[in-house]
Symmetry: D2
Subunit: 442 residues, 4 copies
C-alpha cells in the first residue's frame, strides 16, 4: 500500500494547491460559501460520491449568526458572478451551504467520518508584495472576506481525500463520510449539522485543522484544548431624549451597556477550571446630544467544561437583565454561536498515534495534545454527538509553517501540509480494519 | 408694648443662656431626647401650658430612623443618670420624645403654632480650649452626641417664648401652640408629628432656625430654599464563599453595592430643577479572603420639588433592585428620613417682614429668602400640612455669628440671637390681631 | 415708514419661501454649506453689499468638528453638481463657509450686526406624504442632511433682511453687518468667526432663531436660557488580543470607555446652577473574540454658567484620563464644539421689546425670556465678545407653529414667521437712531 | 525502632491533647501569640534545645499586617493575665512571636527543618453544647480569636516532635530545626522569618497542615496546590462636603473605591493558569449627607504562579491609582500579607511517600497532591528559599475528620491526627540517613 499511496499523493499534490488557491481567491465567509459549495459538490458528484446537500444536512433553526436574507441574496449573486455552478446553487440558497459526501463500500464495517470546514473570516487581506497570496495573484477578491485561518486548505484536503479514497476504494470497508461544514468561524455552523443527524450513524469521527502554532512535521492526535463557548448579541433599547433639555425623559441604553460590561468582566472565576468572558464590540447611541436609545454588545463566554461555560453564561444573563432593570431599558439577547468542550476518545487517539508513527514518515513528531486551552471549535458538537451514541472521536492538528498568526491579514501557510494531511487521513481509512480488529479483541 | 416686651426680654436673656448651655452639655441625639423632653415638659407644665406628650403627638409608625429598642433603653438609663425627671419620662419612653404645649387664651381667634427642634447630632465635640463650650465648661458629656446645629438654642428659644407669651397672655387672642420636635437631624421626626395631627388645627405656622450662614442682625422671613429629600438604608445580602477556593459559590453583595453606587450618582439631572443623590456610607464584607455577603449603603435623594425628588427616588429604586439582580443577591430598603420642599405663604411672609422692620430694631436686615437651595428640613411637613388645610406657613432664619459651620465639631453661636428670636416670635403672636384684620380686609 | 415697510415685506414674502425651500431641498450640514454660501454671496453681491468671505471671517484654527479633507472635497463636488456657483466657491473651499455682508450708510452711527446660521443637521428627512416638504417636493435630496432646525429659514430671513435694508438705506445710520455663519449645529462655527474679529467693531448685536417651542405670534426678546457647553470626542487606544487564548495580553479600550462613562454621568451636581453631561455615542471593538483595542466616545458637558461648564469639563478630563490609567490604554481628546452661557443686555432687550409692542402688530405676545434652560447656542460667542468690547447684544426667538420638534425627521414650520422676522429686524435697524438717543440721555 | 517509637508516641499522646486544648482555650491571633510563644519556648528550653527567639528569627521590616503598638501592648497584658511566662516575654514583645529550636546531634549530616504555625483566627468561637471545645470546656476565652484552622494542633505536634526527637537523639544525624511561626493567617509571618535567614542553612524542609478536606488516614506528601498571593489595604482619602449644599466641593473616596472594585474584579484571566482577585471588605464614608472623604478596601490577589499573581497585582495597582485620578482623591496602598506558589521537590516527596507507606501503618492512603488549587500558604517562602539554596522542600497534609470546615466557628478535628503526625515527622528525621544514602547514589 505504502508505495502506491505515496504515488497517488504525489500525483494529487499540484491539484491540492490549485484548489486551495482558488478557494483562497474567492474567499467566502460563513453562510456565504455559495461558490465554494457548488464547486465541492460538483467535484464530489463527478467522483461518484452520494451527496446530501443543504437542508438535508443543515437544521435551519439551529443555524447561528445567520446574515440577513438581503445579505444572503446579495452574496448569492456575487457567487454566481464569480463562477458558482448554477446547477448546484439551489441546494445551498438561503444559507444552507453544507455538504455530506458518502462513499459506501458495500462491505460490512463501521462508518468513518471526516469533517472539514469551508468558510473565510470577515477580514480584509493584506495587499502588499510581502504577502505571498497577493504577490502570486491569489489574494481574496472579496472585500472583508479572507481565508486567514486555513479553511481553504481544509476544503482542498477534503477534496483530495475524496480522490484518494475513491482510488483505493477496494481496500476500504464500511462507509466513509466527508463532511464539508459552513460557518465554523464564530462557531455557528456545526450545531445545525449535528442536529440534522449528520453523525448519528458515525462510529469513528475525525476533524482536522492545520497550523495553530504546531510546528511543521508534528501531528497532534487528540487535541482536547477546546473551551466550551456561547456567543450572543445583546441589544438594549431605551428612550432617546435631548440631553440638555430633557435628560430625565431618556432611558439610557449606553449606560446600561456600560454597567453590564463592567459586571460581565467581573463574573467570578471558577475553581474547577478556566473561564473567559469578552465584550468584544459595543456600539451605542445616535448623537452626542441625545440620550442613547440603543446599544449593541457582542459577547462571548467560554469555559474549560460545558458546566463552567454554562455557569458564566447564566451569570451573564442575570447581569444583562439586571442592568436593563437598573436603567429601565428593554433588552434582547440573541444566540450567535456556540461550541462545546470535548475530550477525544483515548483508544482512537492511540490508534491514530501509532499509525502516524509507523506509516507517515513525514510526521516527525507525534503528540497527544498541545496543552494550554485556547480557542473554541464547533467540531466539538460532532465529537460529543458521536461519543454520546457510542462512537469514538478525535481532533487532529497538522503542523505547518505560518507566515503570520491565524486571523491575521498576512496569514499564509506552507502548502506541503495538505499532502501530509490527505495521506494521513487516507491511511486512517485504509487502516480501519486493523483498529476494528484490535478494538474487538480488547 | 414695646417697652414692656423689651424689659421682659432683657429679664429672660440670662435664663436663655442657662437653658441653652444645659441642653448643650447634655446633648441628646434624635429619639434619645429623654432628659431634654422631661425638662421642657416640666417647665411648660409649671408655666401652665396644656401639654400633649409622647404618643399623643407622635405617630409611632411614621417615626423614621428609629434606633433599636436596646439603644433606646440604654439611652433612657443614661438620661436618668443625667437628671431626666422620672415623673415625665414614661410619656417619652421608647422613642416618643415630642411635646406640644398649648396656650388657649379663651378669646376667639386663630391658632398660631411655633415649632422648635431639640435633637443633637451624632458627632464628637471638640475638646480644646479654642472651643468656647469646652473652655467654659458646657461641652457635651455624651460621646458621639453634640449640639452642632443650634437646636440647643432652638429649645431654649421655645422655652423663653413660652415664658414671654404667658406674661403677655392678656394681649393675645386665639390659641398658641409651641411644638418641640425630636429627630430633625436626618429629617426623621416631623412626619410622625404631622400625621399625628399636631398642626391640623393651625392657621398660622412658624418654624425657626438660627445661623445657617445668615449674618447677625439679619432675618430671613420666608426661607423657601429647602430640597425635598428621602433618606434610606440599602442592605444587600449575598452568600459568602472563600475567594480563593470557591469564588463561584459566592454572591457578592459588595459588588452589587459598587454597581448601584456608580449608577445612583449617574441618575439623570432633571430639567425642572436641582436634584441630588448621595451614597454617604458604604460598609461591606467580613474578611479579605471572603466574598462579601452583605453591604449596607446609607443613601439620600433630594429634589428642588417633591416631584423631582420622587423622580430621583424612583430611579434609585430601579437601580438598587437591578444591581441586586445583576449579582443574584437580596436587597432590603429601609426608609430612614424624609422632608418635603415647601414654599412659604407670601402674605404671611410679608406680614412678618413688615413687623420685623417696624418693631424689631435689632434686626437690621430683613430679606425674604437667602437664595440657593442647600439642605433639607422636615419642618416642611408641618408647613405643607398647614397650607393644605388652608392655613399659612413660613420658615424664619435668625442670623448670628458662628465659630464654625453647622455640623462641625467646633460649631458655636453668638447667644444674643436667642433674645432677638424670642422677641420676634412673641411680637408675631402679639401682632396677630393686626394681620387678621389686614388679612380679612383683602 | 410703517406703510412702506409693510408693502416691502409683502412684496418679498414669496421670495422668502422660494429661498427657504431651495435651501431646504439642498440641505448642507456644517462646514459643507458650499452651495448655500455661494448663492448667498452672489445675492448679497448683486445687492451691493461689501462682502468678507471665507478665511477673511473664519479663523482656521478655531473651527471645531471639521470633517476630513476627503469629506470636504467630496461635498464640494456634490455642491457643484447641485448648482453651487463656481465663481464664489474658491472662497469657501476647504471648510470656510462663512460670509459677512456690510452695508455702510456713510452716515455716522453705531455698527449693528445681525447673525443667521446656514447649516443643516446630520439626519435623514422623512419621505412620506405626511411630511409637507416631501409632499410639496422640496425635501432634502442629500442623504443624511436635513434642515430640521429651521436654519434654511434663518438664511432666507438674512437674505430678505438684506433686500429690505437696501430699500430703506436712506433711513439708516452707521453700518449694518449681516453675518451668515456655518456649522452652528454642534456649536462648531461661531468661535472661529468671533476670533476672526467679525464683531469686534459691533455696538449692537442680534442673533435670531425661529420656533423652539415659542408659539406663533410671540417674540422672545432676550433669551438667556443657554447653557455653556463643550463638545469633545474621546478615543481610547489599547491592544487587541484573542479573548480566549491570550486575554492577559490585551489592553481593553472598551472597558476603559465603560468605566469612564459611568463616572462621567456621576460628576457632582453643582450648587450654583444646572449642569449636564452626556456620552451620546460609544463605538468600541473589532470582533466578539478580540479584546477591544479602540473606543470612541462622543461627549458633551453643559453648565448654566461658563464656570459650571468648566467645572464639569475639568472633572471629565480627570475621569477620562484616570480610566485610561486604570486599563493601561492611551487616550486622545479632541475638541468638537463649544458655546458659552450669555445674558442679553437689559437695555437693548427693553428697547426691542417696546419696539415690537409698538411697531409689529403681528407680534401679539412679547416676553423677555422663555424660562428653563435647555440647549446651547454658539451665537453666545458673538454676544459675549460684543459685550466684552462695550457693546450690547441679545438673542431673539420668533414663535411659529411646528409640525414636529426640532431635530425630528418631520420638522417643518409655518413659513409666515419669516416675514415677521424680516420686518422686526428691519424695524430694529430703522429705529436704531431712537435707541441711540434714549441711550445717550440716560 | 518501630516498637520503641510506637511506645514513645503512645506515651506522649495524652500530652498532645493537653497542649492542643490549652492553646485552643487561650487562642491568640497573629502577632499576638505572646502566651503561646512563652510556653513553647519554656518547654523547648527545658528539653535542651538551642533557642533563637523574637528578633533573632524575625526581620522587623518584613512583618506584614502588624497590629498597632497599642493593640500589641494591650494583648501583651492580656497574655500575662492568662499565664504568659514573664521570663520569656521580653523576647516576643512588640510582635516578634517566633521561635526556632535547634537540636544539634554533633554528628555530620544535613540540616532538616520542620515548620509549624501558632496563630488563631479573628473569629468568635461557637459557644453551644454542639461544639465539643465548648462542651468539654476548652473553647476560646478570647473574644474574636479562635483556633479554627488547627494551628493549636500544629503547635502541639511541634512540641511533641521535639520530645520524641530528644528521646531518639542518638539515632539522628546532622541538625534538626523546629520552626514555630507566628501570623500564618493572612500570610503575614513567614516572609519575615525567611528574610531573617531561618532556613538559609536548611537542606531538607517540611511544613505541615492537618485537615483541609483530606480524609483521616491519608497523607498528602507533596501538596503543590498553593496560589501565590498578595494581600493589601487600599485607603482613598478625598474631601468631605455637604452633599446637598456643596456637592461640587467634595472629592468622593467612596466612588473611587466603587470604581476600583468593579475594575479589579474585571482584571483579565490569564492564559497560563488560575488567578483570583477579591475585595473582601469596603468601608467608606462618615454620614449619609456627606460626600465620603475616605474609603478602606481590603484586597487580595492570587495566582497559580508567582508570575500570574504579579500580573494581577500590577493590573490592580494601575486600577487603584487610576480610580484615584478619576475622582481626584489620594490613595495609599499598604502591603498586608503575601505568599508564593511553590512546587515540592520530587525526590524528597518520593522518599517521604515510600517511608509513609512502609513505616506508618496508620496512614492507609498516601498521595502526592490533592489536586485543585485552593488557598495560599506562606510556608511557601521557606520552601522557595530552601530550594533556591539547593535544598529540598515539601508540604505535608495529614488527613483528619473535621466537625466543620476550616475558618468555621464550629471547626474541630479528630485529635488522633496529632500522634500520627508526630510519628511521621519523627520517622522522617530518623530515616534521613537512608535518604542521604539513596540521594548520593544517584
Amino acid at each position: 500500500m505504502d508505495a502506491s499511496i505515496n504515488k497517488a499523493i504525489t500525483a494529487i499534490a499540484p491539484q491540492l494547491q490549485i484548489w486551495r488557491r482558488d478557494f483562497h481567491q474567492y474567499a467566502e465567509s460563513g453562510w456565504f460559501e455559495f461558490r465554494t459549495a457548488t464547486l465541492v459538490a460538483d467535484e464530489l458528484s463527478r467522483l461518484g460520491y452520494q451527496l446530501q446537500l443543504g437542508k438535508e444536512v443543515i437544521n435551519a433553526d439551529d443555524r447561528m449568526g445567520l446574515p440577513s436574507p438581503e445579505q444572503l441574496a446579495e452574496q448569492e449573486k456575487r457567487a454566481i458572478a464569480q463562477g458558482a455552478l448554477p446547477q448546484w446553487l439551489s441546494h445551498f440558497s438561503g444559507g444552507f451551504t453544507g455538504i455530506v459526501a458518502t462513499l459506501d463500500t458495500g462491505k460490512p464495517g463501521p462508518t468513518l467520518a471526516f469533517r472539514v470546514d469551508m468558510d473565510a473570516l470577515d477580514l480584509n487581506e493584506d495587499l502588499t508584495q510581502q504577502h505571498r497570496p497577493h504577490a502570486e495573484g491569489f489574494s481574496s477578491c472579496n472585500a472583508h472576506m479572507m481565508h486567514a485561518c486555513g479553511h481553504d486548505g481544509h476544503t482542498a484536503i477534503g477534496l483530495g481525500l475524496a480522490h484518494i479514497l475513491k482510488q483505493f476504494e477496494s481496500q476500504l470497508i464500511g462507509r466513509i463520510k466527508i463532511i464539508f461544514q459552513p460557518a465554523e468561524e464564530g462557531t455557528r455552523g456545526a450545531k445545525s449539522m449535528t442536529t440534522a443527524g449528520v453523525v448519528d450513524d458515525v462510529d469513528f469521527f475525525v476533524a482536522i485543522h492545520i497550523g495553530t502554532g504546531v510546528p511543521k512535521g508534528e501531528l497532534v492526535c487528540g487535541s482536547k484544548s477546546f473551551l466550551a463557548t456561547t456567543k450572543f448579541d445583546v441589544t438594549y433599547r431605551g428612550v432617546a431624549a435631548h440631553s440638555g433639555a430633557k435628560p430625565e425623559e431618556g432611558k439610557n441604553a449606553l449606560v446600561a451597556a456600560a454597567q453590564a460590561t463592567l459586571a460581565l468582566y467581573g463574573i467570578p472565576h471558577h475553581s474547577e477550571g478556566s473561564s473567559r468572558i469578552n465584550v468584544g464590540v459595543l456600539n451605542a447611541g445616535i448623537g452626542r446630544n441625545v440620550i442613547a436609545d440603543h446599544a449593541l454588545m457582542k459577547v462571548e463566554t467560554r469555559g474549560e467544561t460545558n458546566q463552567i461555560n454554562e455557569f458564566v453564561y447564566q451569570q451573564a444573563m442575570n447581569i444583562i437583565e439586571g442592568a436593563a432593570k437598573m436603567q429601565g431599558v428593554d433588552v434582547d439577547i440573541k444566540l450567535m454561536g456556540s461550541a462545546q468542550s470535548s475530550h477525544p476518545s483515548p483508544q482512537w487517539v492511540n490508534f491514530i498515534s501509532h499509525l502516524a508513527q509507523n506509516k507517515i514518515p513525514e510526521l516527525t513528531s507525534i503528540v497527544d495534545d498541545k496543552g494550554q486551552a485556547a480557542g473554541s471549535e464547533d467540531a466539538t458538537y460532532f465529537m460529543e454527538r458521536t461519543k454520546a451514541l457510542g462512537g469514538q472521536a478525535t481532533y487532529l492538528i497538522f503542523g505547518t509553517d505560518l507566515s503570520a498568526g491565524h486571523h491575521n491579514e498576512r496569514f499564509d501557510f506552507d502548502e506541503d501540509v495538505m499532502s501530509v494531511a490527505v495521506k494521513t487521513l487516507a491511511t486512517i481509512a485504509l487502516s480501519l480494519p486493523e483498529f476494528e480488529q484490535g478494538h474487538h479483541d480488547e
